[in-house]
Point group: C2
Chain length 320, copies 2
């Protein structure tokens, strides 16, 4: 049963129930380069009240430093240890959980954020942004797609330079290299861009590989649990007093549910009210609110209308 | 129950039972640019005996003229009307079965063979080999991915220039253009190359799109039936006296089974004996033979050993 937050009393009850707030970013805190109105005030208020904030994003194109720079640019406080991108979580999972051998390297399908996180953990890699693999090979010319027994893992995230050479090389390593790990930062079908359209996401990028090989990948990002394992390893958190906030039922809300954590859906992103109200909805949030910005009413309830703030309406207009 | 063909009597029985022989090409007739030993003799013998030969290939990179040129180059007789590539079959299906409107165009993910078949049927198209769409777009730059209401179908085949721009454009058309058809030439997971390795196939190329959109594609190529519908429309064939010959259980043999046609598996391509003998084998052929070339024993049984010819052994060595 979903509780729709509608009054300042609802907001206060929610706020008091939890100590730790796990945040999805895009569609919740910002749209592209615009902070959703009211959100900055609310985040600052939370910090003042001693709450713990953790940012959990499936976006694998940036390293943690890159996300930090984005928060900085938008005038939002954030610290490296509060940021869990699926690139970092994937690398941490490979190194600490799978105990990746030091003499092996990772074949990367992804952008430089993934490479930076591999570097920061001292793991050798190939592919990725290497210009030799960011090319179109001529039709039926497979001569540049060769074996490499040193590849011990294929790690795939979002990659706008996806091409046949990368797919075919990764395919060979997964076929030929015994015990080669197959790790996806996440498998999101699509993601919303600030132009209001959905574009194919990381899961679409790795789909050719998942289709062609029999190896089952480990998926790190939401709604899967390796991401949460990673957070719990480094933060002292009481699940009972932790809230996951997101704009997607199939990633954010399912992530909380899978991890035994309460969930709040915001309607400033991918999902609309009818999605969780649908009879066949597979994932239903514990709470729902028009916009995270609405909670800024807590910072000074006299200054703002309590429901349907200008902020949330503005945000909705932009995403619809 | 599979009948293993082992003697000249077995070969003769099989030959006499059927009037029409549907052939997969790669792994059956040739490996890359090498005709499998004995096959040329057998095909010529079939023609002399008045049998009907039809070549059915999922390879969508070539138009029928291109396949004809390959037969010519290899010294094998073939005629345009005997050749059914999945590119031609997809275009024919769009035009004649789906009655594609004359004022709409097709967005192509594929090579020039698909474009040539569209041209030959007078259907407008975009994408494909157009240099504007064969580029890498910068990270998070979606400015070149725009709407186009004139696109009435997305047609995807094998494309070694697959890239994010093509995937994202096709995704937009399928999302935004009402009634936009979604046609795959075929959905093969992999294909064997003459270097003896498997490479990601057409199904891997279209996997991102199938993953990101909800629209269910029409798949034309084997093992699906639109390809057979296409053959039956243009050839007078008695299914009872037709044999499908191929090297793959999941495409060729399943194609025959789905269409109520008897099947012969050759072991010169993708599949090995243990594949169809496996307890959990989903598709089992009616007949099996080491190599199609073994049937050349029919042309002059005195000249050749009857089983395990040099030809089949040589072919096996190359593919293993």
């Amino acid at each position: 049963m979903t509780h729709e937050l509608e009054s300042i009393e609802d907001y206060r009850d929610l706020f008091d129930k939890f100590d730790t707030f796990l945040y999805d970013c895009d569609g919740v805190i910002w749209h592209g380069d615009n902070v959703i109105p009211g959100v900055a005030d609310f985040l600052a208020y939370q910090r003042k009240q001693g709450k713990k904030l953790i940012f959990v994003t499936n976006n694998a194109t940036k390293a943690r430093e890159g996300f930090k720079a984005k928060f900085d640019k938008l005038g939002l406080e954030a610290h490296i240890e509060e940021i869990f991108g699926s690139a970092y979580a994937s690398v941490a999972y490979l190194k600490y959980v799978l105990d990746f051998p030091k003499d092996k390297k990772v074949y990367v399908i992804g952008e430089d954020g993934l490479e930076k996180e591999l570097e920061s953990e001292g793991i050798a890699y190939c592919g990725g942004t290497d210009s030799k693999d960011n090319v179109f090979v001529p039709l039926m010319d497979f001569s540049s797609i060769q074996s490499d027994p040193d590849v011990g893992a294929v790690m795939a995230g979002f990659d706008m330079h996806i091409n046949y050479k990368k797919i075919a090389k990764a395919h060979r390593y997964l076929q030929e290299n015994k015990g080669c790990h197959f790790i996806l930062t996440n498998d999101d079908t699509t993601f919303p861009h600030s132009d209001g359209k959905l574009y194919p996401g990381s899961g679409a990028i790795s789909a050719p590989l998942r289709y062609a090989v029999k190896n089952k990948p480990i998926v790190v990002g939401k709604p899967n649990q390796p991401m949460l394992d990673c957070i719990l390893k480094t933060h002292d958190i009481d699940r009972e007093r932790t809230l996951m906030i997101g704009d997607r039922l199939d990633t954010d809300i399912a992530f909380g549910k899978n991890g035994g954590i309460k969930t709040l859906l915001v309607l400033t992103g991918v999902q609309k009210r009818e999605d969780y109200q649908a009879k066949d909805a597979e994932v239903v949030p514990d709470y729902v609110i028009e916009s995270l910005g609405d909670l800024s009413a807590l910072t000074d309830s006299n200054k703002r209308p309590l429901n349907g703030t200008d902020g949330s309406k503005e945000a909705k207009r932009r995403i619809d």
